[in-house]
């Protein structure tokens, strides 16, 4: 196939739109990354009407046969964006969800950049936050044009018409025309500058538990993930990468591998060897038969403890100031009680269920890539760079992702697959084994924190000092957002707290560990900061001899939304009611990703120290809810994700190698360990907050605080060490 011919479909509208002027989308929304915001968007003339299709902007296409196609700038990886984003458009376009078909956006930073990130990516829980205004605007613009086209045809006032379920109606005369019939005429009309958005009280779709559009294909086995693509003639490859990060292949004896039935080729790279075969079974068997000698390189002696101690040392010296309020030094000096603590959280792997994979066909004049990616434009860019091709000769087909959690924001898997495909004649699907996936992940950073608080005679925190050291993922991934030694992700959840803290001082010391790359991981900065802040808030409450909920509430007088969710969670959880011995409740509150969220976890610690989370109650105020069921689902899932990390999650290095390899050594929570989860949503007309990650950061301190309530043991290092919780005989 000629790659250029692949740029049909949505790419067609892309070309037309890139010539248009752009609309500035002022999305000043709290939380998350706020970068330059410029959303390319239709404002000029509609597509020249040489066809009968109507393409008012990059997100909507209405064909003459009435088919409505919505182009999704955000990728579906379980979070429900393929339902929620269409809901925004469909609400304003006045079509039913059953009438739309959803397509993945092609790589195009100009058209499909996330307005809050400035790049085409799905992450940071901000698809809805970024899309809330512009994609409703996209729908409203198209609807206005369709109504105008119908009014013109009928020679009536557009005000006397209305749109409903993919038709324009003229109630006075009982006439109706389908959008498909209007497409050609609408396409000739100018695009209105300010289409009027619906009033919230008129919403029919937004705020409902609308059914997921991706669910039917996912229950009958027809959903196509990146790993499922099968271009004609595709071969399957699997690989071994240098076990120590930064190592090289010294020698390979591939005689036995080549003798395996179905093995076609051995591809040797500087730091990896791949076996190309007719099927993955043969590729894996061939890989096992390879005798590879590695030069472990500069990180041959690296171990996690060394990294942790370097981070600890780094917190002894001052770092860039993330936030300072009042005068901490003198407040601390006057404090009646002082509390100090150090916290530590480990490296974590993503371990998405779909292992890393990417299919590539490199030809002389172009390259075609099939992958599930959170950053499709980056996938295209790295493929072009690696293959030495101009960008426009690389076609990327994005797919459903079998779990992202931040892993697929990085495109190392695409680079690797192109390197291999350059040596293979025809398309090749590179599938990582689970062991490769875990041992060559890019990991949630290790962090070390020092935190201290000073209380007055009533127990109020009058001084708050916090310094932490760790990697900055942003500094690598989005360098312009790393400024003056700080980035908005590393500090989210540690600064701009909802609590009334008159004197606070927070510093972040960036330390990049050698030999191990860090990456975004569901809730990233907050996954660490909320654990530390909410654990320490519990420590302060204990030092003040006050109830953990009452103590927090007393610091939230200026934050009514915060107070409301905390009260609600405590009330629904039965906070204060008696529990049996070695059972306890723990609370956490956070304001991150633009969402207020409180959780109460109920745990049971057995005599041998093992922890079981029995029940979790969550109250959430994420402003306007697009899909109530998705909000519940995301919280339920995020809680399981967080408990997995709290109980089991830890990646360690020894001699430069990751010690965990598969689900036996890197364990996941299973159904028999899953708690009952209750979600209570506070209805609120504020702009929407992010929901994909918030539940994960909140659960971890709720669990450790509950363990404190159950056992009196304060856990300051993750994962939870059950040996330390064993009941003394």
């Amino acid at each position: 196939m000629n790659p250029a011919s692949q740029a049909s479909g949505p790419g067609r509208s892309t070309d037309t739109l890139s010539r248009r002027t752009f609309l500035q989308a002022g999305a000043a929304i709290g939380g998350g990354l706020l970068l330059s915001i410029s959303l390319p968007f239709a404002k000029g003339e509609a597509e020249a009407a040489e066809t009968d299709r109507f393409v008012p902007n990059a997100f909507i296409r209405i064909d003459g046969d009435g088919q409505i196609i919505l182009t999704m700038p955000y990728v579906e990886m379980g979070q429900g964006t393929y339902t929620a984003i269409p809901m925004l458009i469909a609400e304003e376009l006045e079509v039913d969800l059953q009438q739309v078909r959803v397509e993945h956006a092609p790589p195009n930073e100009k058209l499909y950049a996330n307005p809050l990130l400035g790049v085409q990516a799905t992450g940071n829980s901000n698809a809805i936050r970024g899309a809330w205004q512009p994609l409703r605007q996209a729908g409203a613009t198209a609807r206005t044009m369709l109504v105008a086209a119908a009014a013109k045809r009928w020679n009536v006032d557009p005000e006397s018409c209305r749109a409903k379920s993919g038709q324009v109606l003229h109630p006075a005369t009982g006439r109706a025309i389908g959008y498909g019939d209007l497409a050609a005429e609408a396409a000739r009309l100018p695009v209105p500058e300010h289409a009027v958005l619906k009033r919230p009280e008129d919403f029919k779709l937004i705020g409902t538990p609308a059914k997921r559009l991706d669910a039917p294909a996912k229950v009958n086995g027809t959903a196509v993930y990146g790993i499922d693509v099968r271009p004609p003639g595709v071969k399957i490859a699997t690989l071994a990468q240098s076990p120590a990060f930064g190592g090289r292949v010294k020698s390979v004896d591939d005689a036995a591998a080549k003798a395996v039935k179905g093995v076609r080729q051995i591809v040797r790279l500087d730091d990896a060897v791949a076996v190309v075969a007719d099927h993955m079974g043969a590729a894996k068997k061939g890989l096992a038969a390879l005798a590879i000698e590695w030069d472990d390189g500069p990180n041959a002696k690296l171990d996690t403890d060394h990294i942790a101690r370097e981070l600890e040392k780094a917190t002894l010296n001052a770092g860039p100031v993330a936030q300072t309020v009042g005068d901490v030094e003198s407040a601390m000096a006057r404090a009646v009680t002082k509390v100090e603590a150090a916290y530590e959280v480990p490296f974590l792997a993503h371990a998405a269920m779909e292992p890393m994979n990417c299919t590539v066909h490199v030809r002389k004049d172009g390259c075609e890539v099939w992958v599930g990616t959170q950053a499709v434009a980056r996938a295209q860019a790295t493929a072009a760079r690696t293959a030495g091709l101009p960008l426009d000769r690389v076609v990327v087909h994005n797919h459903l992702i079998g779990g992202g959690f931040g892993r697929r924001l990085d495109v190392d898997g695409v680079t690797r697959a192109v390197q291999i495909a350059m040596q293979v004649d025809g398309p090749v699907k590179v599938v990582w084994t689970r062991e490769e996936d875990i041992q060559h992940d890019m990991y949630r950073p290790y962090w070390f924190d020092r935190i201290s608080g000073g209380l007055d005679e009533k127990g109020k925190p009058v001084a708050w000092r916090h310094r932490f050291a760790g990697s900055s993922v942003i500094a690598r991934w989005l360098p312009p957002a790393f400024k003056n030694g700080l980035d908005p992700d590393s500090t989210e959840g540690a600064i701009d707290l909802a609590y009334d803290l008159p004197n606070m001082h927070v510093e972040f010391v960036r330390v990049e560990p050698p030999g191990i790359q860090t990456a975004f991981w569901r809730s990233v900065g907050p996954s660490h900061n909320v654990f530390v802040i909410e654990s320490f808030m519990d420590e302060l409450a204990a030092a003040a001899n006050q109830d953990a909920v009452a103590y927090r509430l007393s610091l939230l007088d200026h934050a009514p939304r915060a107070k409301a969710v905390l009260k609600l969670a405590a009330e629904k959880a039965g906070w204060g009611q008696r529990l049996p011995e070695r059972a306890g409740r723990g609370v956490s509150f956070q304001f991150v990703f633009g969402t207020y969220l409180a959780q109460v976890a109920e745990v049971e610690v057995s005599k041998d120290g093992s922890v079981r989370v029995r029940r979790v109650v969550c109250a959430v105020d994420c402003g306007t809810v697009i899909n109530t069921d998705t909000v519940r689902a995301q919280i339920q899932g995020a809680i399981i994700f967080g408990i997995t990390a709290a109980l089991h999650g830890e990646i360690t290095l020894k001699n430069g190698r990751v010690e965990q390899a598969n689900f036996d050594t890197y364990q996941m929570l299973r159904i028999n360990e899953a708690p009952a989860i209750e979600v209570h949503i506070v209805q609120n007309p504020e702009p929407p907050g992010g929901m994909g990650e918030a539940g994960t950061s909140a659960i971890v301190p709720a669990v450790t605080n509950a363990i404190f309530a159950a056992t009196g043991r304060r856990l300051r290092k993750l994962p939870i060490d059950s040996a330390a919780l064993r009941q003394p005989v």
């Binding site: 669910a215 790993i227 079974g281 043969a282 598969n662 299973r670």
Partner: protein
């Protein structure tokens, strides 16, 4: 060597080594990509199929071990009553998120329902704890199995 296997009622001839895991025969040779690769060691359940009605991890089931046994996969399970009930409950309760593990979950759940029309929580734990869901849909999986079981019992009473 060529092997003959029966998948969803259809007979296929497969030329591969006898120790090739069934998962790769299904996915890469026969093009049935519903069964998923997750771990390769029977640790996650994403590759679950039925062999003569019993759930099996196809990533560790060798081609030469199958013989004349009947294989059912997610592509065909909707044709069975327990499979159809489970799939319906999965949709009714919106179980799926990323969905990648769900073919395996549905195969385990439909085998449970076929052998036990009224599973208790502990039966669900036993049957389903071999299936990992990284998105954490466990709460809904449990509810959906119960709903499917209830619909089975109501169906039986009619």
């Amino acid at each position: 060597m060529a092997f003959t296997i029966i998948v969803n009622g259809n007979t296929h001839s497969v030329d591969a080594d006898g120790d090739t895991p069934l998962l790769w025969v299904l996915r890469d040779v026969l093009g049935m990509t519903g069964a998923k690769f997750g771990c390769g060691m029977a640790l996650c359940g994403a590759c679950t199929v039925h062999i003569d009605g019993a759930p099996a991890r196809s990533c560790v089931t060798s081609l030469d071990s199958i013989g004349a046994s009947k294989i059912a996969t997610i592509e065909g399970i909707g044709a069975t009553e327990p499979g159809a009930r489970i799939q319906k409950a999965w949709l009714d309760l919106e179980v799926v998120q990323c969905g990648y593990c769900q073919p395996g979950q549905i195969m385990s759940a439909s085998a449970l329902l076929a052998s036990n029309p009224n599973p208790a929580d502990s039966d669900i734990d036993d049957a389903m704890s071999g299936n990992i869901c990284r998105c954490g849909t466990y709460v809904r999986i449990r509810e959906a199995i119960k709903q499917a079981a209830q619909s089975t019992r109501q169906g039986a009473q009619k």
